[in-house]
């Protein structure tokens, strides 16, 4: 046996005690849902994990009502310091139960344990820790003194980073004094429900956090609910568009974190080995189920062949398989449906004349898998260069000059993220300036931090999550709008800003 094959090193599942079935978490308690329960399966084995309750409109009502009560009676009246302490508690509980959460995440989502263990769950704890500290410092958010929370936040999150997206949503909302009703994605409810247990352990007042499970219509009922003050959604651009339409004309504040088709630009003077790692991390991290994935590689023509050659060599060392094996680099595709979409778009890529290369790796018999794939000879007009594939598929395009790179990078309705690889500092700054993307990684890719605002331009959504901007999205200024400066006094306006 080759050393490189490495003997299996599975993370133990003993730490995780899943129940047979999970109810909805409303008003501090688990309760039955009124819809038909559905199964959550492991995408790596297609094995049944647990039965999940399905919230219907009446359950959404109940959850929103619980959140409203908790907002009116306790949470909005509580001191920021105490809210912060609850969030610190949650952060610590997440750390204490981190391995359990990581195992659950990998089991339910299909992502490699090394990612759930080293990226997702540590960031979840960091997110709560960061926003916990904001709770009693809201005067400094930038909205003037004593900004007010919005009320009840309806939050709908995707399946690619189930627990992390929950943290991105819940931590700032609670720190700002809002209560929440959160709906995890249908295929990845488990860690949200484990989080509900953490909420109980933290002794959070009932109704401050409500978690309702279900499919698209549950989410639609939630964001469309009349007693919701804030809608936060992460997911596809098409659903985001529908939500933006549905809140039109209402007073609901909206933040959307949607799709992307990020350009990862590699110049000929790039630190080449790190660039290769960055390309790999950019598109194969989390099986490419990343809205900010570097799915369009823009490589300078002069080094195209070398980069592709090195990339293929590197991809050949990636290990695809059991998400719970500590040595797995590429886990399972989250669902049969997503796998179908990846296959379909890849076939389109081939049909359009792009050259397909797939890393040689053994695909397990059960479960949903897609081997790391790159397409070369891709043109900007190809669908695989324009549409979000949301899978481990890289489209490679070339450019000749920095201006061409920028033009091609920006030639998309999306604008979430971008990468730049070059040793030339001034070029990094100039290119970063010109890229129409909310997050630009220079000589790195796919880095996240609770203090760092994240979000898109154009059809990648609006609003930012993370940092000061992230909490501002859950607050409003409490000062009345400053009156127009006196029309008769001929002097400079001294103060007009309310923010």
């Amino acid at each position: 046996m080759s050393f490189l094959e490495y003997a299996p090193a599975p993370e133990s599942q003993a730490i995780l005690n899943l129940r047979d079935s999970y109810g909805l978490f409303i008003d501090g308690e688990f309760r039955e849902g009124h819809g038909t329960p559905f199964a959550s399966i492991s995408p790596a084995t297609e094995k049944h994990l647990a039965t999940i309750a399905h919230a219907d409109a009446s359950d959404v009502d109940a959850a929103v009502a619980a959140a409203r009560r908790a907002y009116d009676r306790t949470w909005s009246r509580m001191s920021g310091a105490d809210r912060g302490k609850y969030l610190f508690r949650i952060a610590r509980l997440v750390q204490e139960r981190s391995r359990e959460l990581a195992v659950a995440e990998s089991l339910d989502n299909g992502k490699p344990i090394k990612e759930s263990r080293d990226v997702d769950v540590p960031l979840v704890a960091a997110w709560f820790f960061y926003y916990a500290g904001w709770a009693d410092k809201l005067d400094h958010v930038g909205l003037g003194a004593a900004p007010a929370p919005l009320g009840v936040a309806a939050q709908v999150i995707p399946w690619n980073f189930p627990l992390l997206m929950l943290a991105w949503k819940i931590a700032p909302a609670l720190a700002a004094g809002n209560t929440v009703v959160l709906k995890p994605a249908e295929t990845t409810s488990l860690t949200a429900l484990l989080f509900a247990e953490i909420v109980q352990q933290a002794d959070l007042p009932p109704g401050v956090v409500n978690i309702i499970t279900g499919a698209g219509e549950t989410g639609a009922a939630l964001v469309g609910h009349g007693d919701v003050d804030k809608v936060a959604f992460t997911g596809s651009t098409s659903v985001g568009r529908a939500i933006a339409r549905s809140v039109a004309g209402t007073n609901k504040k909206l933040t959307l974190e949607l799709g992307g088709k990020a350009a990862n630009i590699v110049f000929d003077d790039a630190p080449i080995d790190q660039a290769i790692e960055g390309i790999v991390n950019g598109i194969f991290f989390n099986q490419g189920h990343v809205c900010c994935a570097g799915s369009r590689l823009l490589v300078q023509e002069s080094i195209h062949d070398e980069v592709i050659d090195r990339l293929k060599t590197r991809l050949s060392t990636l290990r695809l398989g059991d998400p719970l094996d500590k040595n797995t680099d590429i886990g399972a595709i989250n669902s049969a449906e997503q796998l179908e979409r990846i296959r379909e778009l890849s076939d389109v890529g081939e049909a359009e004349g792009a050259e397909r290369w797939t890393a040689a790796c053994t695909i397990p018999e059960n479960g949903f898998w897609f081997a790391p794939t790159i397409f070369t000879n891709v043109s900007t007009s190809h669908r695989i260069a324009r549409e979000e594939i949301f899978g481990p598929v890289l489209s490679v395009l070339t450019f000749r000059t920095p201006a061409e790179a920028v033009a091609k990078a920006n030639n998309t309705p999306y604008g979430l993220s971008a990468g730049i690889w070059t040793d030339k500092g001034s070029r990094i700054l100039a290119v970063a300036d010109k890229l129409r993307a909310g997050v630009v990684w220079a000589n790195t890719f796919n880095r996240f931090d609770p203090s760092s605002p994240f979000g898109g331009y154009k059809e990648s959504g609006y609003g930012r999550e993370g940092g000061r901007h992230g909490i501002a999205a859950y607050l409003k200024t409490s000062a009345p709008t400053v009156a127009l400066p006196s029309a008769t006094a001929r002097k400079t306006v001294s103060k007009g800003a309310t923010k």
Binding site: M1, F3, D273, D423, N443
Partner: protein
């Protein structure tokens, strides 16, 4: 241009498009893509998270032993100490005859005759199960002496039976940009490795990465060492901190990989100093396997310069054999 007289090496000339003088070397070495420190360290850390279990671990532990240059480089070294070292090299674990031998013993030049004598019939090519004698030379560890003394140092050790010479580069010359001088010296030392029968002792070129300080320097020095004819590039003397680190070793392996892509030639890598635990050594094996490939995990292409590492590997080995944890009194002190 310093006017340094450089002995031209064919492969260097071909690559540089001219003689290996300061200007040509500078143009070439500074034209190599840079290294992003953060990315390099992250990649190394990622490789370090590989979890090596059961059969893979057993294989790895044995292989580590077989790749060790068991080293003593003390001012206080004596023939007795060297004999003790050799005995350990030949029989690392007296309680287990299946335990493999180390690749080489590494000593100061004046200790070479004692090592050769102590090894007796065990002396030879590690690829054939024998143990080589490596000598540090060229005014190790500082390298601060005249060229003639360095060459004599080398020739002495080779004449005394050293199979491998671990030379140090002139870091001062390198850092001041006198690449031609560094190149020239490596070429000269290589020539001093020539035995009477026309064969050469293997040359390991110690970069002393702790003094080169930056990853860009390490990468350039690695290329320089290879261009000048080094058979191995080696991280450190062990006398300067930091000695071997995983990122530095990864970087040197990347150069070796690129050289192989370019020339088809295989150059060895030797991290030395500071690798004391089996767990760390396994990370190096993983890094070698995933960067240049498993075929590099042989004594003529990869070594650990270490002393205390061997005992830790033996403890781990005993744990795997017996199923319970061992203790320091169950391995020998040399």
């Amino acid at each position: 241009m310093t006017g340094t007289q450089i002995v031209p090496g064919e492969r260097a000339i071909a690559l540089l498009g001219g003689e290996a003088n300061d200007a040509n070397l500078r143009r070439y070495l500074h034209g190599i893509p840079g290294v992003d420190a953060v990315g390099l360290e992250q990649r190394a850390a990622g490789l370090g998270t590989r979890s090596i279990k059961t059969t893979s671990k057993a294989w790895a532990l044995d292989r580590i032993i077989g790749l060790i240059d068991l080293t003593t480089l003390e001012g206080a070294d004596t023939p007795g100490k060297v004999r003790s070292l050799v005995a350990k090299a030949v029989t690392p674990d007296a309680s287990d005859p299946t335990c493999p031998r180390v690749a080489a013993v590494c000593v100061y030049g004046d200790m070479v005759p004692h090592a050769v004598q102590a090894l007796g019939t065990a002396h030879g090519d590690p690829d054939q199960g024998k143990i080589a004698v490596a000598a540090v030379a060229t005014a190790f560890p500082s390298g601060r002496s005249s060229r003639s003394i360095k060459l004599e140092d080398t020739a002495d050790a080779v004449a005394a039976g050293a199979d491998e010479i671990d030379m140090v580069i002139d870091r001062g010359a390198f850092l001041s940009g006198r690449y031609g001088q560094v190149y020239d010296e490596i070429v000269a030392v290589k020539e001093a490795c020539r035995r009477a029968d026309g064969t050469y002792a293997h040359l390991k070129v110690i970069l002393e990465t702790g003094e080169l300080n930056t990853y860009d320097n390490v990468r350039r020095a690695s290329w320089l060492g290879i261009l000048a004819g080094g058979d191995f590039i080696k991280t450190s003397t062990g006398k300067v901190a930091p000695a071997a680190t995983l990122p530095v070793t990864l970087l040197m392996l990347e150069v070796v990989r690129d050289w192989h892509r370019l020339s088809g030639e295989k150059v060895g890598v030797k991290p030395a100093g500071g690798i004391r635990a089996s767990k760390d050594a396994i990370k190096y094996l993983v890094t070698v396997a995933e960067t240049v490939g498993e075929e590099w995990l042989t004594p003529h292409l990869f070594r650990f310069g270490a002393s205390s590492l061997l005992n830790d590997v033996l403890l781990q080995r005993q744990k795997m054999t017996t199923g319970h944890y061992s203790g320091p009194d169950y391995v020998t002190i040399d």
